[in-house]
């Protein structure tokens, strides 16, 4: 009997060893959206992620996509086991992390770091939010804040926005709703034409991430009297979404932790480079009073969009708690509306 037990133990440990090495050979496809393709920053970050993942049981084959929509569709269709796409596109797979890019919800990079730490913490109260349908969130990285780029410095407060035209991304309904709510006329655009419209003066305002400033030469649209309103309207993120049946929970947990501990700092280096390219003369300061009014406005818009089902209520509440943890004096911290 004792002999039998020993045999069983040896057999099961052998089996474990075998299954361990089998895991080490799991091959998976990962589709990476990078507008520059294999030479871009995100693809480069994912190459190192791939190397680290090999130590955790998965051999990822990276596939570059320069069209984000196709990457998202391929993930849906099972052509990719995981995909790195923006949070805006990722919203269809996970409404919780897809609401990270909501307007005015993440006012600083410290707040961004805190959120990514929460997601990477693998706390049992967070993890269920990261799974939805057959998909799960396996990492979030910052891609920089978005601001209003205006062709005239006098457009420096909400009242001045009324009647002005603004280019908004056609796949993000929140942008268009927000623009319309302050009396602006939204001009539906995509990544190929929004900068051209701003630079040739056919729209007055462009809502754009800090990374677009130099690559798309947005300074041309601001010449001579324009600027960038120094108020963070939202944060863009890149998110890795994987199919639940293709990655085990341990790997997904490790992956989220890797993004929080390693990828965050690297992504911030790229973002900081983008800031350093911006001539200081372009920044249009916003008075404290105006900033508070915008905060309130953004909050009303978020509550409205959450009610309409665009944003996720639980994420809105987490983001509010983080904002209030960073700055308890914010007006919103005295009530529980969000």
């Amino acid at each position: 009997m004792r002999y039998n037990k020993t045999v069983l133990a040896v057999a099961s440990s052998l089996l474990l060893a075998v299954s361990g090495s089998a895991v080490a050979n799991e091959k998976r496809t990962m589709c990476v959206f990078d507008i520059i393709g294999t030479s871009g920053d995100i693809y480069n970050i994912m190459k190192d992620y791939r190397t680290a993942a090999l130590d955790h049981g998965y051999d990822l084959t990276l596939k570059a996509y320069t069209d984000e929509n196709i990457a998202a569709e391929d993930l849906k269709a099972g052509q990719c086991d995981a995909a790195a796409i923006t949070g805006l596109r990722g919203r269809q797979f996970n409404n919780y992390t897809g609401s990270l890019d909501s307007i005015g919800a993440v006012p600083s990079y410290d707040a961004m770091r805190a959120i990514i730490q929460v997601i990477g913490s693998n706390n049992e109260r967070i993890v269920p939010h990261l799974k939805s349908g057959n998909f799960q969130v396996m990492g979030v990285a910052p891609m920089g804040a978005a601001y209003l780029f205006v062709k005239d410095k006098s457009i420096n407060n909400v009242n001045a926005l009324a009647g002005k035209s603004i280019s908004v991304m056609e796949y993000d309904e929140a942008q268009a709703k927000m623009a319309a709510s302050v009396g602006m006329s939204p001009v539906m655009s995509d990544i190929t034409n929004f900068s051209g419209r701003f630079n040739n003066g056919s729209v007055d305002i462009s809502f754009a991430p800090v990374m677009a400033y130099s690559a798309l030469e947005l300074y041309k649209g601001m010449e001579p009297n324009g600027g960038i309103v120094q108020y963070v309207l939202g944060q863009l993120t890149t998110q890795v979404i994987g199919r639940q049946d293709k990655f085990n929970d341990d790997f997904a947990a490790w992956s989220r932790q890797y993004f929080s501990s390693t990828v965050f700092d690297r992504a911030m280096r790229v973002i900081n480079n983008s800031y350093s390219e911006i001539d200081k003369k372009w920044w249009i300061p916003v008075s404290e009073g105006d900033a508070e009014r915008y905060d309130e406005m953004m909050r009303d818009a978020r509550i409205e969009l959450t009610r309409a089902g665009v944003y996720n209520k639980d994420m809105m509440s987490l983001l509010r708690n983080i904002r209030c943890r960073m700055d308890a004096s914010r007006a919103e911290c005295s009530d529980q509306r969000e």
């Binding site: 520059i36 393709g37 030479s39 190192d48 051999d59 596939k63 996509y65 190929t192 990374m211 350093s276």
Partner: protein
Amino acid sequence: MTFSVRLRALFRASLLGAGVAAVSGCGMVYKTTGDVLVSYGSKEMVPYLMSYSDTGMVCATGESLTPLLLSFESVGSHPDKLATLVYTTAAICTEERALEEELRYMRAMKEGRVAEAQDARARQKELAEVSARRMQEAYNRAVGQYGEADNGSCPRLRKDFDELVYMIGMVAGVQSLLADATADTAVGVPRDVAAKAERAMSCLDNEKWWGAPMGLRAALWNILPMLKPDNGDTWAELDRSTRLGFEAGVRLPSALATISAYSTGDTDRVRKAIRDFANNDQDLNPDYALIDAIAFQLVKGISDRMWTEATGKRTPFGGLGTFWDETPKQNNSFNIDDLL
């Protein structure tokens, strides 16, 4: 003061004077030497180097000659145009070394050796950073010499040599941006270089330069679709430029098309581009053998990455244009059974 003392004083003074004259004369000699070197470089050395197909020799020339040539700036010579070329050729060395590290990384990944893969990636990034710095310097020198193209206005390019330097400088600018991305943006190359280079290329005669200007523009449209004019067709332009390059015997546009297809993940197009490149190796232009040799290296680099990813080995010697999963064409003109 005795006569002899006065004589000695005079002698000393004249010695001192001669010394001063010699020193300032040296400055003049140095500047003259520098000017001669710059003029010789543009008139003789560059055309000579252009006829070389030995990129290893050209890379070594770039690495060793650049400090000497550039040192003449401190005595008043102006080697900006040559600097664009020598920095670019010096970058050939680091690009090549970085590729070797990338291949080592791929092999290690394939065999599950994570530590070696990470080591190879770190080394690749170090080398990519040096490449990015060299190519950014090449770009900056070209812009310093000729200025930027603005919408509707182009810099004044007086001779063929100026056009060549300008074109190479702009290509270097785009390459510096890409190398910097590999190096985790350690250099911080401004992102608007791509848009500026795209505009600059419209200042050059596409046919005269073997389709390269339009080829680069179209390759950039793939990266930044917002630069594409309303009627622009990226792949049609790349195909047209590739044909022009083949006809002129300088296959740079074909290399640009290959890189473009590779970076957008379009595997079928990459294979076709590599095959076309390999099949058009006849009647190459001897005056620009170097440009074609650089194009060869770029295409071979992509083929090597694909082969290594799939098989753990680079392209077999002489096998550019072939792929691991394709069976070679059989000669079916006779039936072996008949012979036996």
